[in-house]
Each structure stands twice: as structure tokens, then as C-alpha cells.
């Protein structure tokens, strides 16, 4: 009688231990993947900040040659401050998209000014912005990859139960949302 009870207790303890080990394993796995995705986001953030720093210099350089393009300068300035003031990642993604297309238009405008295109300072800024844009693009791919990995592992059973218990919310992919942003800026003369 006592022996049977003992075995029962032992069985329950054993099952509890196994469950605890599995839960801890899944929790740590989710946590690691979320940290990886967050690190990938901070890699993007470094490049976005770099772009915020470069934009005023670019605007000032272009202003010296293209005095009649006030509208473009204002769009760029507005997009930049919106991007810098963004509170959430979603807001920032939207605002950075606006900034990308505004910068694209600024370069398109610059095409019409041969003196500007020969300016050493402008060429340097163009190189830096092109590179920053590329780095954002590559970092975005890395970020999306790690977000997709995290999201998938938080959705499958039984990890979805653990994810719900500990509040692992699905993370958002960094997608290009505007149609304008998807297409390569075309140059008109």
C-alpha cells in the first residue's frame, strides 16, 4: 500500500522535473532567439542613426547649388525629424521608409546640376549615403531572418504555450511598405 503510494509520488515528482526541464529549455531557446533579433535590430539602428547624421550635410551641400528645390529640402527635413522622433519600432520603420524615398528624390534632383555632381563634398556624401543605405538593406535581411526564426519557434507547439505564459509577443518584420520605396528611383532630365 505504502510502496504503491511511494512509487506514485516518485512518478509525479519525476514527471514534474521532466516538465520543468522542458519548460526551462524552451524558455531559454525563445529568450536567446529574441535577444538575437533585438541585437539585429540594434545593428540596423546604428546605420539609421548614421543616415540621420549624414542627411543635414547632404541637404546643405545640395542647397548651395539647387536653390529652387525648396519643397524637396522640406520633405527631407520633415521625414528626418519624424524618423528621429519615432517612439516604437513600427513608427520608425514607417518614418525611415519616408526618409529613404525623400533622399531618393533629393539625389534625383541633384542629377540636374552638373556642378553639384562634380562637387567633391557631394560625391563623398553620396558614397557614404549609398553605403549606409546598403548596410541598412543587409542588416534588414539579417534582422528579418532572426525575427522569422524567433516567430516560428514561438508559434509551434508546445512552445506557443510557454510563449503565451511568459509574454513572448510575435516580432514585426522590417518590410518595405510603400510602393515608392520598392522601386529603384528613376532619374529624369
Amino acid at each position: 500500500m505504502f510502496g504503491l503510494l511511494g512509487i506514485g509520488c516518485l512518478g509525479i515528482v519525476a514527471i514534474a522535473v521532466i516538465v520543468a526541464v522542458v519548460v526551462i529549455g524552451i524558455y531559454n531557446g525563445l529568450q536567446r532567439k529574441r535577444v538575437a533579433a533585438q541585437t539585429a535590430w540594434s545593428d540596423i539602428d546604428v546605420q539609421l542613426k548614421r543616415r540621420h547624421d549624414l542627411v543635414p550635410n547632404l541637404v546643405n551641400t545640395v542647397k548651395g547649388y539647387a536653390t529652387h528645390e525648396k519643397g524637396v529640402f522640406e520633405t527631407v527635413a520633415a521625414a528626418r525629424s519624424a524618423a528621429m522622433g519615432a517612439k516604437t519600432i513600427d513608427q520608425q520603420i514607417a518614418a525611415e521608409g519616408q526618409l529613404s524615398s525623400a533622399i531618393g528624390r533629393l539625389f534625383a534632383v541633384a542629377e540636374a546640376y552638373p556642378d553639384l555632381k562634380a562637387n567633391q563634398n557631394f560625391l563623398q556624401l553620396q558614397e557614404e549615403l549609398t553605403s549606409t543605405e546598403n548596410k541598412i538593406g543587409f542588416s534588414r535581411t539579417n534582422y528579418n531572418r532572426s525575427v522569422a526564426q524567433f516567430n516560428e519557434s514561438a508559434l509551434v507547439f508546445p512552445a506557443n504555450i510557454i510563449a503565451g505564459m511568459f509574454g513572448f509577443a510575435q516580432m514585426k518584420l522590417y518590410e518595405l511598405d510603400s510602393v515608392e520605396e520598392r522601386k529603384v528611383p528613376t532619374v529624369q532630365f
Binding site: 546598403n134 543587409f138 518595405l176
Partner: protein, 356 residues
């Protein structure tokens, strides 16, 4: 392995590289540079297994070569000394090979860079080159390699190092000056693909081992011809009647080993070198997603008729295209041969065009 890129490549055509600002090409439809079942993880794992096997094979060859050299140098006339001489030779060679491998592990990259006459540069010396390398390092998830410039009008580039953390990429001033931003990205992506695939370590170890085997083969032959003239002949004629047939067989085998081993070692090394070039081209497209850039660069590299000023056979397989004077000056970059370090350029371009 070489047919795993899918459809047979179309015949090479003149390449028109579209003008581009060097902006990122992420929005292209998926390009299958590598077969879909090949991921980087298993590519690198396969490379590691293959490296271990081939290095072991070469060590085996080296020990055999050492034993053969021992027999021929130490026991030419004395039948009883044959076996200890063989063991001694193998032992000496084993130790020397280990030291050489260890040396190349720690000092190889530096030695390679100085043999090529490469000097390190900083971001302010060439912001665009650094930007391109930084972008590709992000794309490949690699630490930023050191960047070197080779002051040479010839067109070429290479990568070295023992792992991604100690990697270095080098480009000639001639190549740097003649490329557009997209083509430069193609070249640097090819070099970073070598880093990412762990090719740089494999090629360095293979070069060391193969070089050593070739050296011992030459050394023994020279010793027998020049050093062995006087004493060797006298002692061998004295002991001829007493020579054990087993020893004669041993000597014959040794001679065969000394002739065959250097050739086999070199062929192994060259075959791997050629295979790695195709893989690095595919890996480069994986990074840039823009085969046009690398195609444009390879076309320019193939048109180059100025050889590198510093010719060095030891580091030739590391370069982007075959740097040998004979190949460059006569425009023989399209030759296909098991004795060449690089696959035919036209074939490399055709495989990239199959991705467009």
C-alpha cells in the same frame, strides 16, 4: 560537384554591365547561386571535413616521402641501414611538417601578405573600398577583415588568414582603379566568400604541405645527383653483391614515391583550388545578389595583359584569377587543365550568367 549548379551553362556571350549607382540589390528575385540543399553551415562543415581528410592524406604522403628520402640518402649502399633510415627519414619529415604546419597556422597570413607586397590601408585612404567591404561583412555576418593594397598595375586580388577573425583581403592598385562600385563589390564578395567558406585556412595548409613534399623530392634528387656522385657510387659498387633483393625493391619503391608524391600532392592542391574558385563565385553572388558586378570584374580581369611584378608560385592559388606570367601575358585565362590553379575564366563567367 561541378555539375551541381543546375542547368548546363549557356555559351559565354559578350557581357553588357548595366550602369548602376552601387545601390543594394536586395529586391531582386531569388538567385540560386548555390543548390537549394546547400546551406552555408553544411558548406563550411563539408569544407572542414574535407580539409581534415586532405591534410591527413598529405601528411601521409609527406611521411612516405620522408621515408623514401631516408632510404635513398641514408642507406644507398648499406642493406641493414635501409629500414632505420626509412624510419628516421619519416620521423624527421613528420617533425618538420608539423613545425611547418604550425608555422603557417600562426605566421602564414603575414608571410603571404608580405610575399605579395601588400600594405595595410585605413578607411581614410579609400573610403569607398572600406564601405564596400563593410557592407559585405554585414551581409555575410563576418567580422570586418583587414584591407590591404598591392601597389601593382596588374589586375588581381586575394584573401588570407586562418579564420574570419584574422582574415585580410588584398587588391592590386590596378584592379582597384579599373572597377566600378558594383564590380568592386563583386570582387570583394568573392574574397569574403573564401573567408566565409574557410578556404583561406585550407589553401594555406595545403600549400605548406604540398610545398614541403615538392621540396623534399627536389632535395633528394639533387643530393643523389650532386652529393652522391663520389661516395655513393663507390659504396654501392662495394656492396652490390651483398645487396638484399628486398632492399633493392625498397629503393625502387622509394624512387617511385619520390617521383609520384610531389605530383600527386600538387594535383590534389590544384584540384581543390579550382573547386574553391567556383564556390567562391557562387558565394559572392549569395552576398551581393548581383552577378553582373562579378561578371563585369571577371571580364576585365580576363582582358588584363600585365602580369604581377612579384611572381610567386606559392601564393598563386590564392589569387582571384591565375596570376602566372604565362597565363596573363598570352591571355590564356580560358585554358582548362588539371595543372592550373584556376578554372577557365570563360567557364566561371558562363556559370554566373546562368544565374541571370
Amino acid at each position: 560537384m561541378s555539375n551541381s549548379y543546375g542547368a548546363p551553362p549557356p555559351p559565354p556571350q559578350p557581357v553588357a554591365v548595366p550602369a548602376s549607382t552601387g545601390a543594394v540589390h536586395l529586391e531582386r528575385p531569388e538567385l540560386h547561386a548555390l543548390p537549394t540543399n546547400v546551406t552555408y553551415r553544411n558548406l563550411i562543415a563539408e569544407n572542414r571535413r574535407k580539409s581534415a581528410f586532405l591534410v591527413m592524406l598529405l601528411i601521409g604522403l609527406a611521411v612516405l616521402t620522408g621515408a623514401a628520402a631516408g632510404v635513398l640518402l641514408g642507406a644507398s649502399g648499406n642493406s641493414r641501414a635501409a629500414v632505420p633510415a626509412a624510419l628516421g627519414g619519416a620521423l624527421i619529415f613528420g617533425v618538420v611538417a608539423s613545425i611547418a604546419a604550425g608555422w603557417s597556422w600562426f605566421s602564414g597570413p603575414g608571410a603571404i601578405l608580405s610575399m605579395a607586397g601588400a600594405t595595410p590601408i585605413e578607411k581614410k585612404d579609400d573610403p569607398q573600398l572600406f564601405n564596400v567591404v563593410e557592407e559585405l561583412a554585414i551581409a555575410g555576418g563576418l567580422p570586418l577583415p583587414k584591407v590591404y593594397l598591392i601597389d601593382d598595375p596588374s589586375l588581381n586580388a586575394f584573401a588570407t588568414g586562418r579564420d574570419p577573425a584574422t582574415a585580410a583581403v588584398a587588391i592590386t592598385t590596378g584592379l582597384r582603379a579599373s572597377l566600378t562600385r558594383d564590380e568592386l563589390a563583386g570582387v570583394m564578395a568573392h574574397e569574403l566568400a573564401h573567408v566565409r567558406h574557410n578556404d583561406i585556412r585550407l589553401m594555406m595548409l595545403l600549400a605548406t604541405m604540398a610545398g614541403l613534399i615538392v621540396f623534399v623530392g627536389d632535395f633528394t634528387r639533387n643530393m643523389r645527383i650532386f652529393g652522391g656522385m663520389g661516395g655513393g657510387r663507390r659504396s654501392s659498387s662495394n656492396s652490390r653483391e651483398g645487396a638484399n633483393p628486398l632492399v633493392i625493391v625498397l629503393i625502387v619503391i622509394s624512387v617511385i614515391i619520390l617521383i609520384v608524391a610531389p605530383i600527386v600532392a600538387t594535383l590534389i592542391r590544384l584540384a581543390i583550388s579550382r573547386q574553391r574558385e567556383y564556390l567562391a563565385d557562387a558565394g559572392a553572388v549569395e552576398l551581393t545578389r548581383y552577378p553582373e558586378g562579378l561578371i563585369g570584374a571577371l571580364t576585365k580581369l580576363g582582358a588584363c595583359r600585365t602580369p604581377l611584378r612579384r611572381q610567386n608560385e606559392a601564393i598563386a592559388p590564392l589569387f582571384m584569377v591565375n596570376p602566372a606570367k604565362s597565363a596573363v601575358v598570352r591571355g590564356r585565362q580560358d585554358s582548362s587543365s588539371m595543372f592550373l590553379t584556376h578554372p577557365p575564366l570563360a567557364e566561371r563567367i558562363a556559370r554566373l550568367q546562368a544565374l541571370l
